[in-house]
Every structure is written in C-alpha cells, then in structure tokens.
Amino acid sequence: MEADEKIEKISSQTLISNSPSKRIRIRPLTKASLVLRGTLVVLVLLTAYTFYTIDVKDVNFVQGMIGTAKNVKVMFLEPHLSHFSFSHALYQVMITLGLAFLTTVFGAIIAVFLSLFAAQNLSSKRVSVVIKGFAAFIRAVPTVLWVLIFAVAAGLGSVAAVIGMTFHSISYLIKAYSESFEELDKGVIEALQASGASWWQIVFQAVIPSSISYMISWTFMRFEINFAVAVAMGAAAGAGGIGFDMFMASSFYYDIREIGAVTYFILVIAILLEVLATQIKKRLKVNI
C-alpha cells in the first residue's frame, strides 16, 4: 500500500500524467518546426494560386503536352548532325573537357594553399574565419554569375569563363580540403611539433598524406561539376566547345535533331566521368 502511494507521488513529481485525455508529444513544437510548417503551408497556397491564375493564352494544355512529347521524341530518337561533322563534335567536346580540366587544376593548386590557412588546426582562428568567410561568399554566387562578372573586364569569352570558373572552384575546394585537413587528429600534429618538426614539414608529412584520398575525390567531383558548367559556358558566355554548338543548333538553326545528337555526346562523356570517378574512389577507399 505504502509503496503504491510512493510511486504515485514520484510519477506526479516527474510530471508523468496518467489522464488519457492528454496526448503525449514525442516531438516538441519548437520554433524551427513551426517555421517549417508555416513555410510549407505558404508554398502550397502559392502553388494553388499560380495554377489558378496562370495565363495559357490560346495554347491548349493537352495539345501542348502532345507537341512537347513529339519534339522530345524527334530529339532523342532521330538524332543527327547536319551543321558539323562527328570529328568536329569530338574536337569540341575535347575543348569543353579542356576548359573543365584547366579550371579544376588552377582551382586545386590555389585552393590547397589557401585551405592550409583555412583549416583551424593549422592556422589561427582569425585567419581561418576570414578565409572561410570569403570562400563561403564566393560559393554563394553561382559560377555562371562569376563568369558574367569577370566578363565585364575581360569581355565575354573563354578568358572570362576560365577566371570565373577557377574562382568558384577555388572556393568550393577550399571548403572540401580544409574540412578534410581538420579531420586530422590534433595529437598527430602535436607529436611532430614535439619532435621539433616545422609547420611546412608537418603539412607535407602528416596533413596532406592523411587527406590525400579525400582531396583527390573532391577534386574529381569538382571536375565533373566544371564539365557541366563548361558546357553551359559555351552557350551562355561564348566560351566555345560543345556548348556553343548546342547553342547554335537550338537558337540559330532550330535543329532539334542536332540538339539530340549533342546531348548524347555530353551524356556519354558524363557517364565516362562518373565511371572513372567511381573507380578512383574505389581504389582510394573513400566514401563522399
């Protein structure tokens, strides 16, 4: 009897309510979850409003869908090259790959040095925060925009594309590299410092060997991104390469079939890069 009373007392003290009317919340209503719900509701309302007020002019929705499907069918089932040859296309793909490669290599070299100073375990807190802040700012602006910004000084073309793409690659790789440097156990650095090794020796003998496989994976990842960007740059910034041919086919010749052919070209390269990346990662035994 007495024990029962005690349990009763404890449960009321620890606020375990026995009344069935009050449901137990597993997930408390925090500020964050309220904001999330509010956002979702607003988005749903906006979508509904858009559909309601959309102006389709004289286009019939069903006919429009059928037309689009037909175009896609022609594009991908009847691809051909009419304004340039296969070997020209191959050459242009190489140019695009070259643009991606160049900007990745430039970006990687510069990023290695900056990320050493961005890693908190190798640098001072202040320097690290400044570099990471800058890199975050550069990353927040899309690559295409950087190319257009540099085009103001360099004119639209390959120079602006190289500078803009390198710029964005640097900031992306600074984040990737410095985070993998920071993974290194503080004790390892301490051990080498205690034996009289210098900063540069520690960097090259401990920090980089420990993170090299992550660095290679991230660099390759950036190369894949840069390939996609390089295609877009050919079209949008006149940087040449396969992107420019695609731009001509679509906006100048209105040749849907040629667009299909170019798309297949790009797809093949993208798949090859993906396979290569998987192989490299398997060899290096890293998962990112």
Partner: protein, 262 residues
C-alpha cells in the same frame, strides 16, 4: 650526479580560474626513471607539456641540460625539442604512412625544411630506423601501414619515432592507458630498458600505481596541481597514496600491499 631536468616554482593557469599547476618543484637525474602519478585532472599531462613547451608555463623556471626552456626563442626551442622524445596514449601516428615512414618522422627536426617536407632521409637514418625497429621487435612490420598494427605495436612505433631523435629524455603521457596488460608490460619493459641500457631519462605519466611502483626509481605524486609526494617507491606509505589520490584510494592501497608483499 647533476640534474638533467630541473623544474622550479612552475605554475600554470588556464584562463583566469583553472589552476592546473601550482608551484611545482622537482629535479630529475640523468638516466633516472620517474613516474608521475595522480588522479585525472591532477595536472600530469599539463606538467609534461610544460617541459617541452607544448604548453607555456605561466610562471617558474624549467632547466633542461643547462638550458632555460622558458627563455628559448622559436628556433632554439625546436632544437631543444629534438633532444626530448614524446610518447602519447593514442600513439599519434600518421595512419596512412608505413611504420618506417612514421619512425623517420623523428628525424624531421634535424633536417632542412625542404628535405623534411619531401621526406628525403639519408641512408644512415634509414638504417638506424630499421635497427631501432628490430630492437623493438617490429622487423616484420617495417613496411606495413601503421593503421594495420595492434595497439601495442603502434606504441612501439611511437617509441621508435622518439628514439630515432637520439633524445636525452623521453616524456611519456599515459603510454599504456589504452593497452591490455600484456602489451602494457612489453611497453613498460622497453621503456625501462631504454632508461637502464641507453641512459636516457624517462618521465612517465601513469594511471596504474602498481606499475609505477614496480618500474620507477622515483615517484612524483600530484594532486590538484601540487606535488604531494616525491621520493623512492620503496618508502611510499598508504598515507602517501591516500594524499595523492584523495578519497579514491581504498582499492589502490590493496594493490600496493600486494606489491610490497611480492
């Protein structure tokens, strides 16, 4: 015999109110085997790190080999650090490198920045590395990656990395805290050998009182950042142990009783 290491009135404050060490005094002879014991947070690691200035002491004086450690500039400090090897609880090896590469890291402090960066070592250095690894029983592991080793083997690589510095003194921060009893014995035997046969001074932070009593020439007991015992393990009394460990000492006295009996 003259003292190799002299610690005088050393204090260390972290921030404004954490006093990790207060007025620590002791001296260590050449070739002496000294164990520093005390409860967690007593200041053992801080004390070791003040000696090679991985941490700067707030006040006091530390003389090593007739050099005032606290007055050294950056370059002189690096040179002095090459004479002091350090061994850690978690080994602190570069996992992706081989055993011999990790061992040779102990030579970096003797090389030009550039040669060290590229890992260019002389043939003598490589031969010495192999010799040391043989002595420590690692001849089969020389070209293995260090993350493939057992804990005890990793710690022996840690010792090899310290020994290749040709140090006058070894600082060991809980070298056996992560090891099983038999690996612990191997490591402690090696450290004892190093002190007896090579005449290298050894300072070890230890958790296990029985191990400290068995191996040491001198025991330094620390509690709350203060030295509360400094003397031979033979003269240590249950009272002393109680003062070093405070209220946790019940079980430890039992251990010590066994040692003294045995």
């Amino acid at each position: 015999m003259t003292a190799l290491l002299e610690v005088a009135h050393v204090s260390k404050k972290f921030g404004n109110d954490t006093k990790a060490l207060s007025d620590v005094n002791f001296s260590v002879r050449e070739g002496e085997f000294v164990s520093i014991i005390g409860p967690s947070g007593a200041g053992k690691s801080t004390l070791l790190r003040c000696i090679n200035r991985m941490i700067d002491a707030s006040s006091g004086e530390i003389n090593f080999d007739n050099v005032n450690i606290l007055s050294l500039n950056k370059r002189e400090l690096k040179k002095t650090r090459t004479k002091i090897g350090m061994i850690f609880q978690h080994y602190n090896l570069v996992n992706r490198l081989t055993v011999i590469e990790n061992t040779l890291h102990g030579r970096l402090g003797f090389k030009t920045t550039f040669a060290g960066m590229l890992g260019i070592y002389t043939e003598e250095e490589k031969q010495q590395a192999i010799k040391i690894l043989n002595v420590l029983g690692l001849n089969e592991q020389i070209f293995k990656r260090s993350d493939q080793l057992s804990g005890g083997q990793k710690q022996r690589v840690g010792i090899a990395r310290a020994l290749i510095q040709n140090p006058r003194m070894l600082l060991c921060d809980e070298p056996i805290a992560s090891l099983d009893p038999s690996s612990s014995k191997v490591i402690m035997d090696h450290l004892k050998n190093i002190s007896v046969k090579m005449g290298i001074t050894v300072l070890v932070n230890l958790h296990q009182v029985d191990v400290a009593l068995k191996y040491s020439d001198t025991i330094i007991g620390i509690n709350g950042g203060q030295v509360v015992y400094n003397g031979s393990p033979k003269n240590i009394t249950p009272d002393d142990i109680h003062r070093i460990y405070g209220s946790e000492a019940g079980k430890l006295i039992f251990d010590m009783g066994e040692i003294h009996a045995g």
